[in-house]
């Protein structure tokens, strides 16, 4: 299940043209990883150690920061280059 979600996210990240959809794919992959963390935390011998849960919570926080920065960058690039199409963004010089 998590592997399928990760694969869908990866496919989304690699195949879409729009930059925002690539970010959505990355979010899906992060969520798949979180699901794995929680599931292993639940079914491993010592769930009261809280390790997996903590890891998942920190991962959620980091993913939120990543999403904010990523979308800010997309908006900035869009303002600059007037497109969100990744195939068109082939220059690094403004």
């Amino acid at each position: 299940m998590a592997a399928l979600l990760f694969a869908i996210g990866l496919a989304g990240a690699l195949t879409r043209r729009n930059a925002i959809l690539v970010l959505i794919g990355i979010e899906l992959m992060l969520n798949a990883a979180n699901l794995n963390l929680i599931a292993f935390w639940r079914y491993m011998p010592h769930p009261e150690a809280l390790t997996g849960m903590m890891f998942a919570i920190f991962s959620i926080a980091v993913a939120a920061a990543e999403a904010a920065v990523g979308l800010g960058l997309v908006i900035s690039i869009h303002r600059h280059a007037k497109t969100a199409d990744l195939d068109e963004m082939n220059r690094m010089k403004g």
């Binding site: 399928l4 990866l10 043209r17 899906l28 998942a56 926080a61 908006i75 007037k82």
Partner: protein
């Protein structure tokens, strides 16, 4: 595995497929919200209450709104002129994703032994989580706080720089 698990898993996977495959970006964002909600419910079903509610607050509440904002702000260039919504290298991307999925599935099937290790329901209260955060995990907590601050400042600076250029 219970019926509830398969139901939620089906919802999440269908939402993920829709989020990746739909043409309209706003529909993609809605499907993404469905995926996040389904995952939050899965966390709740796995007795991780705090993570489930954090997932709802952070993802359904914040990230989905951010995605919708970004989509609406970059709307003018939404419709591609030629060749659909997929990039030119979509075939390579699909092959890579399928390969990764095959490897992951193979690994999961190989390591079947000993996994559903049915333990007693862990009764994790928010108080325990708070104690752990302030005790054993205080350094990661501080690092996350620093990271969030840096990310916020960075996002604002990235957005403001272009505005200064325009004036």
């Amino acid at each position: 595995m219970s019926f509830v698990f398969w139901f939620l898993a089906a919802i999440a996977v269908a939402g993920a497929l829709a989020a990746v495959l739909l043409k309209n970006l706003v529909h993609c964002a809605l499907a993404l919200t469905v995926v996040f909600t389904g995952l939050a419910l899965l966390f709740l079903q796995l007795d991780a209450q705090f993570a489930g509610f954090a997932q709802i607050l952070v993802y359904v509440g914040a990230v989905a709104i951010l995605v919708v904002f970004a989509i609406l702000l970059t709307r003018s260039s939404e419709t591609p002129k030629d060749g659909g919504v997929f990039s030119r290298t979509w075939m390579a991307g699909l092959v890579i994703a399928a390969a990764v999925f095959a490897v992951l599935g193979w690994a999961v099937l190989q390591s079947e032994a000993g996994l559903p290790h049915e333990t007693a329901v862990p009764n994790v209260t928010v108080q325990q989580i708070g104690n752990a955060l302030m005790g054993r995990y205080v350094l990661p907590l501080e690092i996350v706080a620093l990271l969030l601050t840096a990310a916020m400042v960075g996002a604002v600076i990235v957005a403001m720089h272009e505005m200064g250029d325009a004036k």
